[in-house]
Amino acid sequence: MLLTSAIVTGLGLGSMYGLIALGFHITYTVSNTVNFAQGSAMMVGAVLGFTLMVTLGMPLWIAAPIALAGCGVFGLIVERFLVRPFVERNSDAWLMATVAGGIIVDNIVLFTFGKEPRSLPSPLATNSIEFLGTGVYPLQLLIPVVGIAVAVALQTVFRRTDFGKALLAVVQNRDAARLMGINAKVVIASAFAISTALAGLAGLLIAPLFSVHSDMGTLFGLKAFAVAILGGITSATGVMIAGLLYGLIEALVTAYLGSTYTQIVVFSVIILALALRPNGLLGRAAVNKV
């Protein structure tokens, strides 16, 4: 029972980490930058979801697309004002700018949405069901399925569609991509929008199991970054696998060694893993001829 519950917990959380981490993967591959406000994007997704569904009483099927679109807009803003100005001037300050952006958004939400944590109700997270000898909410089983499905869909889009190819071209050689008629700015901006929308989706999915508040994304964002790195930020598959692994390690360490050691073990594993595989699990170094 300990094992089953740890596995269910681990996979559920892990796929959330994976979804947010996919966002890191997308922006990094396209523009070599990372949006450190990714955790805030997750929070924005959950807060918009709560506001639309609970405060304004909209049904899920209307509220969810609006919330995700809102997150996408957040991504566009991040790219336009927190990343592009610095990349254009060859400065690495986007790193700090996105952190500052996260602080600003978290605080704006704190003073508008409110300081108390709220609960986003979901019929899938009120009554637990029996699953392999342990009690779970149906949502917990749904989350990994959605997470993996989204990751696979994304991978397919990248590999198979023109947009995906354009994205990869921009990643590898922006000027050459422009010479092919690809609007690099639009491609990069949409990569940011997709990445924040993914984080928003994670926020919407996790909210009923968790609580909605301005600070809910911080730790998730950080863990997701760890996941992206662990998996190899250049590989979507690696990121998703790393997400599941991270969730599992976290849950299993807690279950068998005790919660005292969870953070120390998990972070040590990360350092060790990166020392052994400097490009993450499935990440690979770019083609580099001397």
């Binding site: 300050a93 952190v99 662990l230 083609v287």
Partner: protein
């Protein structure tokens, strides 16, 4: 790189002294709150200096420095509570943090970029959680208090004295950074950051350099933490959270990465700003975030970086009179025995044998050349000799020393020095420092002594003169023109006093006159007793100066011997030299002008920043016409191509693409209108397969079935068919060039622009390429061509323009240009090199 705000002069020391004194005055006169704030600014400065060494010099980001700060604070706290004197504990804190830093550097060395950021973040969390769990020692979550502060000669330090201690230490840290940055160590850190591969080849040991940077950075941070504990009188894990690491890094970024005084300004902003905002109570963090962002927007390269643009630069540092040195004496090798003996080496990459059974002897005083088609394994052989690759078989001996399997650093120390196909200077170091770093040969010396000692400077100066570099010595290498980069790189390799000098395509991209100078230089170097090993495609150059030639094809030797013997070897002719003299097919019957202009350029002026390159250029290309653009390096040919394609904006003048005005359009829109540029250096998408590269060429045409066209192109470029599913980055230079042309054709352009397509290609490949271009021309494709191979270019072209210093100085038919004697001397000598008569080979 840095003048008033970060340079070596006494002004810097005076500035640091003034800031320190100012801080002390504040601490003495201000109220105790103010004293405390100033102390925190000083501590943040110390941490900032530590981070600046890591971020500014070695280019590594750390988001875990709060871990070292905590280690320093807890070391002092715990020792102090166990009765150890503060000063002893203070030293222990620095040592402890430094040791942990060195330890962390080991896994951290293997990673870079975001991966390194994550390793450091993880480190910070491990420290925080370890402190929480080691309750017996650290007091757990609720921390430690009740430390005895430091005392000096019986006088116990109060808050004010602690503040002064912090300020003085901060001043010392700034001086330390200033000296370190100018020392051999500091320059080596920058070298390793800029180009790790090249750093190895000047005998630097990147691991040592990086571990040293990490340890010093950590130790400084630990010392700051050591003062933090008694200053605060209480420490707890919640004082050392991740967010504090971000603030530290922020202080360095906002101050200006790499600037000596950056951390001071950064610390002032990050400590004082929140204090100024404290009246906002709960809204402080919100406004703090917003103001951080505003500071970043205003000064993306940091406050000191922004100020340095306002403060006038003092040009032309007065240089003390340099001692006399003889460069010939410096370079001359006495020992006859030190010839390089390469026997039967081979190597395999992923099952492919890139080289096998290669034998080569490079004698002192001789030029030994390696030639062969693109992808023959020439550079691979150089990489094995330079010990960048470990050969799977065979031996590489320099004198009696076996080098096969050594590291590049060891090879460099043993006397093997090299240059690269694409020059690998240290871009942010000055020309002079590039040579000086080479001169150190890995012996970095006193970390507090400046790199530019007079004798060394004199030698470096002599080397730069020897190679014929005439530009400014303090110019960052990144800003050098192409030719100068090659020259400075040769000077840097000579600074190592090598026995063997390896040169990888030094003549690529040079025009005729420059090639002649280069040939003389190489011969001169050999005559000093150095064994020169040359990989080069320019046959006139190779045949002119070589004593021995080794010919490789598909990784194995096919011929070797004196130039005359190799030149007439049928196997070499078949595999590499082609017909021997480069030829291309002219148009069978003259091009007929129907008056339709595909491209019309009027009064085009363009440049980079304030530097104007093109001045009122007029060019037009008719439908189906092939037009050549000729000129020396720096005449503005590539700038013209970039302006036409939209990569360079803004430009003045008018550009009409078949009636569409495109001078103000961005590159992607111009591409969509049907102008395809095959850019200089191929620029294929290295991670995409050959097939995907071709498909993406058709991006502007939208969805569709292009398999027929791809098939046709594969027939035209049979080499690509064999490698259809290989990542383009793994193709040889010639194959990449074919792919780039194919990719351009996939867009069915109204006009095809080619920028230096023959660059770096073997003669036989060049012939193949020009025959393809001639075919395209005959099929009616409109082409504008820029190429160094002027004679060939004019052979295939219908008309040509000659650019000089950004202006069109001649426009005429190709025939007329071909017959022009003046042009011939300047540009057309593709297969005529006038080299110095060769001295007899010393047996």
């Amino acid at each position: 790189m840095n003048r008033l705000f970060g340079s070596s002069n006494p002004a810097m020391l005076a500035a640091i002294a003034a800031i320190t004194a100012g801080g002390v005055v504040f601490a003495l006169t201000g109220g105790s709150y103010f004293t405390f704030v100033v102390a925190l600014v000083a501590l943040t400065t110390i941490v900032g200096v530590g981070l600046n060494i890591l971020v500014g010099l070695t280019g590594q980001i750390s988001l875990g420095h709060v871990g070292f700060y905590a280690i320093g604070a807890y070391t002092v706290g715990i020792l102090n509570l166990n009765g150890v004197d503060f000063w002893l504990a203070f030293l222990a804190a620095g040592l402890m943090a430094g040791a942990v830093g060195a330890l962390l550097a080991l896994p951290a060395m293997r990673v870079s970029g975001p991966y390194l950021a994550m390793v450091t973040i993880a480190f910070g969390f491990i420290v925080e959680h370890s402190i929480i769990e080691m309750q017996g020692l650290t007091g757990g979550q609720n921390g430690l208090m009740g430390f005895a502060g430091p005392s000096l000669g019986g006088f116990a330090f109060g808050e004010r004295e602690m503040a002064i201690l912090a300020i003085v230490l901060a001043g010392l840290a700034l001086v330390f950074f200033d000296r370190l940055a100018r020392s051999g160590w500091g320059r080596a850190m920058i070298a390793v950051r800029d180009a790790e591969v090249a750093a190895r080849s000047v005998a630097l040991h990147p691991l040592t350099v990086k571990v040293a940077a990490f340890a010093i950075s950590a130790a400084l941070t630990g010392l700051a933490g050591a003062i933090y504990a008694p200053l605060m009188m209480y420490i707890a894990p919640s004082s050392f959270m991740f967010s504090q690491s971000i603030i530290f890094l922020f202080a360095v970024i906002v101050g200006g990465i790499g600037w000596t005084l950056g951390p001071v300004f950064g610390a002032i902003v990050t400590v004082l700003l929140p204090e100024m905002l404290s009246g906002l109570a709960e809204y402080r963090l919100l406004f703090f975030g917003a103001m951080l962002l505003a500071v970043l927007w205003l000064a993306p390269s940091g406050i000191v970086g922004a100020l340095s643009r306002v403060v006038p630069k003092r040009r032309g540092m007065t240089q003390d009179a340099l001692p006399e040195v003889s460069i010939a004496e410096f370079l001359r090798r006495e020992k006859e025995s030190e010839s390089l003996q390469v026997s039967d080496i081979g190597i395999t990459f992923g099952g492919i044998r890139a080289a096998r059974d290669v034998n080569l002897t490079a004698r002192p005083g001789c030029v030994t050349s390696i030639i062969g088609p693109n992808g023959a394994g020439k550079t691979t052989v150089l990489n094995m000799i330079g010990c960048f690759y470990k050969p799977s078989t065979g031996s590489i001996r320099l004198g009696k020393t076996e080098l096969a399997g050594c590291t590049a650093t060891v090879a460099a120390r043993a006397g093997i020095s090299r240059t690269y196909q694409t020059t690998k200077l240290f871009p942010s170091l000055s020309v002079m420092d590039n040579v000086l770093v080479g001169l150190r040969g890995g012996r970095l010396g006193n970390p507090l002594a400046a790199l530019d000692q007079p004798r060394d400077t004199a030698v470096a100066e002599g080397l730069l003169k020897l190679v014929g570099y005439e530009g400014p010595r303090d110019c960052p290498a990144a800003d050098l023109p192409h030719v100068d980069r090659r020259l400075v790189e040769i000077a840097r390799s000579l600074a190592l006093r090598p026995s063997v000098l390896l040169l990888d395509e030094p003549a690529a991209g040079l025009v005729q006159g420059e090639k002649i100078t280069l040939a003389k230089l190489l011969r001169q170097i050999a005559d000093l007793g150095i064994a020169v090993v040359l990989v080069e495609h320019d046959m006139a150059l190779v045949m002119g100066i070589s004593d021995e030639i080794l010919v490789l094809d598909a990784g194995k030797p096919i011929s070797a011997g004196e130039p005359s013997k190799v030149r007439s070897d049928p196997a070499v002719i078949a595999a590499y030299l082609g017909s021997g003299e480069l030829k291309a097919k002219p148009r069978a019957k003259g091009w007929s002008d129907n008056g339709e202009k595909v491209l019309a350029v009027g009064g085009l002026s363009a440049g980079y920043g304030s530097v104007g390159v093109l001045k009122a250029v007029n060019i037009d290309v008719g439908a189906g016409e092939m037009v050549a653009l000729l000129g020396a390096n720096g005449a503005g040919k590539s700038t013209t191509m970039k302006s036409l394609s939209g990569l360079l904006r803004p430009v003045d003048g008018a550009i009409s693409l078949g009636g569409d005005m495109i001078e103000s359009l961005p590159a992607h829109e111009i591409a969509r209108l049907g102008l395809a540029l095959v850019p200089e250096g191929r620029q294929v998408f290295p991670e995409l397969s050959v097939l995907d590269n071709m498909r993406i060429g058709a991006y502007r045409r939208g969805k569709g079935d292009y398999s027929g066209e791809i098939e046709a192109l594969l027939n035209r470029f049979p080499r690509l068919r064999e490698r259809l599913h290989v990542r383009a980055g793994l193709l040889s230079g010639g194959e990449q060039q074919m792919l780039a042309v194919a990719r351009g054709l996939m867009s069915k352009p109204r006009i095809l622009l080619l920028d230096e397509p023959s660059l770096g290609l073997a003669p036989q490949m060049i012939e193949e390429l020009f025959s393809v271009l001639a075919d395209l021309r005959d099929e009616g494709i409109t082409i504008l061509l820029v190429d160094q191979m002027a004679a060939l270019t004019l052979a295939v072209a219908d008309r040509g323009y000659v650019l000089e210093q950004g202006q069109v100085v001649r426009a005429d038919t190709a025939d007329a240009l071909r017959g022009d004697k003046a042009l011939e001397d300047a540009y057309l000598g593709n297969d005529r090199v006038h080299s110095e008569p060769r001295k007899k080979v010393p047996a």
